[in-house]
Amino acid sequence: MSKKWWIIALVISLALATISPLASSAPDGLERVAEDNGFLSLALEAPFEIVADYVFPGIANEALATIIAGWLGTILLFIAVYGLAWLIKSRRRTTTV
């Protein structure tokens, strides 16, 4: 099976992350409902922040910080889930053979 398709799909994903500064900054459905019905104030601050709100810390240009956060998450999830799936699959081989 050709490996080319998933490289193309990964490039498309990175391209989507690259245009993420263009995304709408309006509140999402749940935030809108919480705001309109007076329970948004119940939300607590996160106890720690790593790449909070998809803005990579220490970069003055916010669009660039968002793009880098997007690339980081996209690559991280590809590696993590590829690795996890590979592990789940290969564990079976050792137990059944």
Binding site: A23, G29, A43, L44, I50, L77, F78, I88, K89
Partner: protein
Amino acid sequence: MHIPDGFLNMATVASTYTISVGGVANAVRIANKKLGEKQVPMMGVLAAFIFAAQMLNFPVAGGTSGHLIGAALAAILLGPWAAVIIMSAVLIAQSLIFQDGGLLALGANIFNMAIIASFSAYYIYRLAQSLLGDSGKGQLIGVFAASWGSVLLASIACAVELAISGASPWGVVLPAMAGVHALIGIGEGLITSAVVSLVLATRADLMRLQKI
């Protein structure tokens, strides 16, 4: 639809964590039996794509935005249990690294967007296929319906958790969440249909991978 901490009471946090941990454990057990060579890169790519696509909020009516969930795409391409694993990984990363969705609310977010959304999408798609057949057009109608339904049902699950937690009364939060997500679900349907069309046009064999 990522719930922050503070919206849910402890009983809801505990029960949704319990269900989600059980669901993910079962997903891993089933994937361990069925996962093949071809699905491994597909799982990684789908997680990456869904993460990136979720960053792209699109405007809907009234100064509100929505974004793809992606559970329907994953469930249609790989099956509901594989989708549970992919979506859970995305939601865990979003909560731990990007502070999108609370740590205590993670169980509820996995329940809504990984479990409810994946299974509802998968069974709506299967139902549509059995009614409309395997033609390209029938498939895409099924994809759209499954995507829209998955967003609506996930938002209803979210509203139920908020109402049980006392964040907002049932009569308010249920119609409000369902109403706005009926609109956002159209976006989910359009994006998912576009991606499935692209897969059908370029690599139709990827649609026929064994479902997990």
